[in-house]
């Protein structure tokens, strides 16, 4: 097990290195410059800025410089969005809000999704199942900004229960973003759970469990669900990473100062260090979550042998 984890960590480091490299060159391949815009400053100013941030150097020199700094844990400073502010601090300041909303969203999505999926599978073909399937199909097909805007329109503003402006000091501000952000994963998890539950409910050991005189609750949640949980877990890993690092759309609609905003806007701003920093951060998070999920497989299903695979 320890050997396996060491192997995975080494692989993870290599993956992060590869992602950083690919991102770096792709980012530089995109035409444009952080300091050029509609109201561009004089060329002399741009040249001075380029020189200041090292952007006048040849590409491979810039790459070596960035990677060297990265190894020291230095993600550089923002060149455009929050001028000269360290990227690491941008992540430190904005990630907690995104993570809080993301964690609540994925938490309710998981609990509700799994329960609904189980109910749906158990009452297969009955009205409860049909209704849930329609809801979930809608949830998966509907982009999150539609959901977010509908919630905003219906429930925010004066005289309505939730504030339109994000205010981290009140729980009310969290309700709608979490609802909007979690709706898609909830529907996805419900569908996934339903599919694999249909399979595991048909297994012989369920018949054994029924013959033993177990109640429905135990049969569904103890015997069937644990066998059906692997596909859900697989989906959950990367989804947790994506949700926690900030849903850009939802953060924009509810004007939440989260990381998602930086992640997307840094690209249109060509704010190179911010692009690199947020990408590496997200990538590491996805890799860590995948590792956690792989270890959890073993916990959920003892038949899985981690050491043999990998």
């Amino acid at each position: 097990m320890a050997k396996y984890i060491v192997k995975r960590v080494l692989m993870a480091l290599f993956t992060i290195f590869a992602i950083a490299t690919v991102t770096f060159f792709l980012m530089k391949a995109v035409p444009g410059n952080p300091f050029v815009s509609e109201k561009s400053p004089p060329q002399s100013v741009i040249d001075a800025l380029n020189a200041k941030y090292g952007l006048d150097q040849p590409l491979h020199v810039q790459y070596k410089m960035y990677m060297g700094n990265l190894l020291k844990g230095d993600l550089g400073v923002s060149v455009k969005m929050s001028k000269n502010y360290p990227v690491i601090n941008i992540i430190k300041n904005n990630f907690p809000t995104s993570a809080k909303i993301g964690a609540i969203a994925i938490g309710w999505a998981l609990i509700v999704g799994v329960i609904l999926g189980c109910v749906s599978a158990y009452y297969r073909g009955k009205p409860a199942d049909s209704t849930l399937r329609v809801v979930c199909t809608v949830g998966i097909s509907m982009p999150s900004f539609v959901m977010a805007n509908l919630l905003l329109l219906a429930l925010c503003g004066s005289g309505k229960p939730f504030p339109a402006m994000f205010d981290p000091s009140t729980w009310k501000s969290f309700v709608l973003p979490c609802a909007a952000l979690g709706f898609y994963p909830m529907c996805y998890i419900a569908r996934q759970t339903r599919t694999s539950m249909l399979d595991s409910l048909n297994q012989e050991y369920i018949k054994t469990a029924r013959a033993k005189g177990l109640g429905t609750w135990k049969i569904v949640f103890k015997h069937a669900l644990r066998n059906a949980f692997i596909p859900v877990l697989t989906y959950l890993g990367p989804q947790i990473a994506f949700t926690l690092t900030g849903g850009f759309v939802v953060e924009t609609v509810f004007s939440i100062p989260g990381l998602g905003r930086y992640f997307v806007q840094s690209i249109s701003n060509r704010d190179y260090p911010v692009i690199m920093g947020t990408t590496i951060f997200l990538a590491s998070f996805v890799i860590i979550m995948n590792l956690v999920v792989d270890i959890l497989y073993k916990v959920v299903d003892p038949r899985i042998n981690l050491a043999k695979e990998g």
Binding site: Q203, E204, Y205, K207, T208, A209, R210, A211, K212, G213, L214, G215, K218, H223, R226, N227, V300, D301, P302, R303
Partner: protein, 338 residues
């Protein structure tokens, strides 16, 4: 409970499956009684309704299957009238069931111990963890498993098929049920293991005096363990009687056919086995009359028109065949003449 009551009485039981293609009469009126300390075999080919009949007793029929007629009485109680909660309490504690395929009948993600203890705790909420574990280990020892403490911590995949079937038996018997339904418990096992499991079941039956319904298509197994036999064909019971009568004086052409198609150790080594010609009945459109008639070498006109009534051909030995009806009538006439 009075002494003269049977452990289990099944009376004219009908089970149907309401499929999109139409009603399938899986079990079309079967009756029998089973006493404590008695082993009854239910024999029949695949699709003859033998398992569905057993599921009906346990309340395990899956939708779209339904009991549509008849009665099941267990220790004087009407099983079919029980509520869902009562059936849940009934299953496993008073009647237990073991299944055909031990490889898939145990949950792969829980240890043997967990699954055994669960069976016990479900029906006895007051039992302590230590007592339950002790009892589970005692059961494992009883079914001939060694190293029980280690086995308790093992997962099903770590045991062989025969071992798993032993675990299934231990799990079935852990609450001391009065009735054990064994649905082809040896079919998926290889022959030497089959013999061991049969031996074990016979031994346990002698110890516990429970009633066993043994569902199988293997007449050799029946001869080994059963006191009486019920032969089913296409959802109908065609013959029923003590095991010796069935083997030595079968009173239905289907039973005869089954016996002839069974390999025997005492037969001449060059003797050919005689199969039953034809194919099983299409259960969606069963023929009128006796279901076996289309395959029966003695088929008469009446066989294709009406299901024969049961005729007593010996003590507790009944057969549903027009030949036996004819014989009975002739005997009666002979008596009247004389």
């Amino acid at each position: 409970m009075s002494e003269n009551k049977h452990l289990l009485e099944v009376e004219d039981l009908h089970v149907s499956f309401f499929t999109p293609a139409g009603e399938v009469k899986a079990v079309g009126g079967i009756s029998y009684t089973l006493d404590e300390d008695e082993v009854m075999g239910i024999v029949g080919e695949s699709g003859s309704g033998k398992s569905q009949e057993a599921y009906a007793i346990m309340g395990l029929l899956q939708s779209p299957g339904k009991v549509i007629g008849g009665s099941i009485t267990f220790e004087g109680e009407d099983v079919l009238a029980k509520s869902k909660a009562e059936m849940t309490a009934f299953r496993g504690s008073r009647a237990a069931m073991i299944f055909q395929n031990p490889m898939t009948s145990l949950n792969p993600v829980y240890t043997i111990g967990n699954q055994l203890i669960e069976a016990l705790v479900t029906h006895d909420k007051s039992i302590s963890k230590e007592d339950a574990a002790a009892r589970a280990m005692e059961m494992l020892t009883m079914v001939g498993i060694n190293n029980v403490e280690q086995r308790m911590k093992q997962y099903p995949r770590e045991l062989s098929g025969g071992m798993r079937q032993r675990v299934m038996i231990a799990m079935g018997l852990i609450c001391h049920p009065k009735l054990l339904i064994a649905d082809e418990p040896t079919t998926a096992l290889d022959v030497t293991i089959q013999a061991q499991i049969l031996e074990l079941m016979k031994g346990l039956q002698k110890k516990t005096h429970m009633g066993i319904i043994f569902i199988t298509h293997n007449l050799g197994v029946v001869a080994e363990i059963c006191d009486k036999v019920c032969v089913m064909y296409a959802g109908k019971m065609v013959e029923q009687g003590p095991v010796d009568d069935i083997f030595y004086s079968p009173a239905h052409p289907y039973t005869e056919g089954l016996l002839r198609s069974m390999p025997r150790v005492d037969a001449d080594s060059h003797e050919r086995l005689i199969p039953i010609e034809g194919t099983p009945v299409d259960m969606l459109n069963p023929p009128e009359g006796c279901p076996f008639a289309p395959r029966c070498e003695y088929c008469m006109k009446v066989c294709l028109q009406k299901m024969p009534p049961y005729v007593e051909v010996g003590e507790d030995h009944r057969s549903a065949c027009w030949l036996r009806v004819q014989e009975a009538l002739e005997k009666k006439e002979g008596k009247n003449d004389g």
